[in-house]
């Protein structure tokens, strides 16, 4: 076994140090913006990876949960006067329950049939958000009130990075522990072979439901936080394109890899910004990068590099 796999917690220290450095050194609101978006995406992708990478289920509509969280935080305070913390919790609960119900209904579907249902979910949520203009502001979206945590508002971009960075560290730490637990082992068994796992006593249905909900809730929470951070929500937060972006981040970084998820999120958040000056060629460049990366690093960046380093550290 190579050095990298000795302790996953090592990576956590590295992450923490990086975040502290970023907090201190990033020069202006624009760079902080990118970092905050990276952190938010990383959390989503880590949890989505549990579903796709570890449990082997495909979700083509995960952005629906993001949208539910975002719009809960927009609509409930604006139309009903709810405090923002409560709206965030509501969004998370709604997403979790929805995920459980859907999983119960569709757990017997495999492969692309599950993908279809999640795709349908994404589209239905998008359509509702676009059309119910009176509640949601329609295709042009609506403004979101500031996040109010027990009377305190977040004073600036740096504090947002602090919050999201802290949540990211928490997420990584939690996920590492989860994967070392019996729950995590059952998940790995599920991915390896469903039939074998069932034969070994793993209740497939229960685990799939649990993982689906487990990946939906943090996505919803991140949706809520994004809504407060940007101050504005639009229906394409729940859209198909956003779902595909999430899927791409998972695969690019490396399926079933926690740090891969972080890397995938970081890269695919930064790349469009770096390519933005290419004026027209950015789509082509992005596509080319995806193709080349997947050809040469087919398991995703982190897992492929891990294997490569493993071979060479003998």
């Amino acid at each position: 076994m190579n050095e990298v796999q000795k302790s996953p917690f090592l990576g956590l220290w590295f992450l923490g140090v990086t975040l502290i450095l970023l907090l201190a050194l990033l020069p202006n609101g624009y760079f902080l913006d990118i970092a905050i978006r990276m952190a938010i995406n990383a959390i989503i992708i880590i949890m989505l990876n549990l579903l796709i990478g570890f449990a082997g289920q495909i979700s083509l509509g995960h952005a629906a949960f993001f949208g539910i969280g975002a719009y809960s935080s927009a609509i409930l305070p604006a139309h009903f006067g709810w405090p923002s913390a409560l709206a965030l919790v509501f969004g998370a609960l709604f997403s979790g329950v929805l995920a459980l119900i859907l999983a119960r209904l569709i757990f017997r579907f495999k492969g692309h049939y599950l993908a279809m249902v999640t795709l349908g979910l994404g589209i239905i949520v998008s359509v509702i958000l676009t059309n119910e203009t009176a509640w949601t502001g329609g295709p042009d979206g609506m403004a979101v009130q500031d996040l109010d945590l027990l009377g305190h508002k977040l004073p600036g971009d740096r504090s947002w990075l602090g919050l999201t960075g802290f949540l990211l560290i928490l997420c990584v730490w939690g996920t590492i522990n989860l994967m070392e637990s019996p729950f995590g082992r059952a998940l790995r068994a599920l991915h390896g072979s469903e039939t074998a796992a069932a034969a070994a006593g793993v209740d497939l249905a229960r685990y799939k439901m649990a993982v689906f909900a487990l990946s939906a809730v943090p996505t919803s929470i991140m949706g809520s936080l994004t809504a407060h951070y940007v101050g504005f929500v639009t229906p394409n937060l729940a859209g198909f394109t956003h779902s595909i972006e999430m899927l791409t981040m998972v695969v690019l970084g490396g399926m079933a890899s926690i740090y891969g998820s972080v890397l995938g999120a970081v890269l695919l958040t930064a790349l469009p910004q770096l390519l933005a000056t290419l004026d027209g060629w950015e789509t082509v460049a992005l596509g080319a990068i995806l193709v080349i990366t997947m050809i040469f690093l087919p398991k995703g960046i982190v897992p492929t590099l891990t294997v490569y380093l493993g071979k060479h550290s003998r």
């Binding site: 596509g287 193709v291 997947m294």
Partner: protein
């Protein structure tokens, strides 16, 4: 009472045939490799855009149409050789991401070299609409229908009675066994991509007179085609056509009778019902899973 229903039906079938071609492309490639080709919609887009491009350059329609089909076909083969073939041992999801990347590249290049404008193409025959029992049909629709039926017949013959067709079927059944039988599975892959690209671009050329085209029509067409392929049973040619038509008709009826705003949602609810009752799609094979 009948007239509006007939109108919705005709419109649904017209747009459904486009989805059907798209679905057919998905099924072909899925059969050969297990990959869901997200770039399928872009082949349809290229068919339409190239037909417009060559027509504007002065070529007569038949020449423009042929070029608009041949070029994407060659492109499809080249892409497969350069990318999918290289990544042959990758997981399915990785291959899918590659196809996403390819679709971005195709769309981006089209945007740069052929612009962002929307383009129309003259229909093959007279542009006056055809009247049918109180409903109206675009003059291009019979052509699309005719080609769809012809293509279906040709594919049926090809898969049933030609050696190449049987090689493809064998590969999709069991790749290793096919290789053991001496079938060049690499060639099968390339050929399938070529066919999917050809079908897609043919569809593009045929329907552009009805729907117009632009660099970004591929996304929606690909998505609806994917849905149609799954509903019909991924991997089944009959299923793809049936699935595509169902999606088109469901949308049209939904828009007409229930709510135009929610027509996409309507189509999906119908699809959920179908999948619930027949999880492998309408014509999907009853496969057994390897333990």
């Amino acid at each position: 009472m009948l007239a509006p229903f007939l109108q919705y039906l005709i419109s649904g079938i017209t747009v459904g045939m486009v989805y059907a071609f798209s679905a057919l492309g998905f099924s072909l490639i899925y059969n050969a490799s297990g990959v869901v080709n997200f770039a399928q919609g872009e082949f349809i887009m290229l068919g339409g855009m190239l037909a417009v491009f060559f027509s504007k350059a002065g070529l007569p329609f038949p020449a423009a149409a042929v070029l608009a089909i041949v070029i994407p076909t060659l492109l499809g083969m080249m892409i497969e050789r350069l990318t999918i073939a290289r990544a042959k041992n990758a997981e399915i999801l990785s291959l899918i991401i590659i196809t996403i990347g390819i679709s971005l590249v195709l769309r981006g290049l089209t945007q740069i070299f052929m612009g962002k404008a929307v383009h129309a193409l003259a229909p093959i025959s007279d542009s006056r609409p055809i009247h049918l029992a109180g409903a109206v049909m675009h003059s291009q629709s019979p052509w699309v229908l005719g080609f769809t039926v012809t293509v279906m017949a040709m594919l049926w013959y090809f898969f049933r009675h030609s050696l190449s067709g049987k090689k493809i079927l064998a590969t999709s059944c069991n790749r290793s066994a096919a290789q053991l039988m001496g079938i060049n599975t690499q060639w099968v892959m390339t050929f399938s991509y070529a066919m999917a690209a050809a079908l897609g671009s043919l569809a593009g050329v045929l329907i552009t007179p009805i729907t117009m085209t632009s660099y970004d029509v591929g996304i929606m067409l690909g998505l609806k085609g994917f849905i149609g392929a799954v509903v019909g049973g991924m991997g089944s040619g009959m299923g793809a056509i049936a699935g595509g038509l169902i999606v088109g008709i469901a949308e049209s009826l939904g828009a007409g009778y229930i709510s135009s705003a929610y027509k996409d949602a309507m189509a999906f609810l119908l699809i959920f019902v179908i999948l619930f009752l027949r999880p492998r799609g309408l014509f999907g094979a009853k496969a057994t899973d390897r333990v």
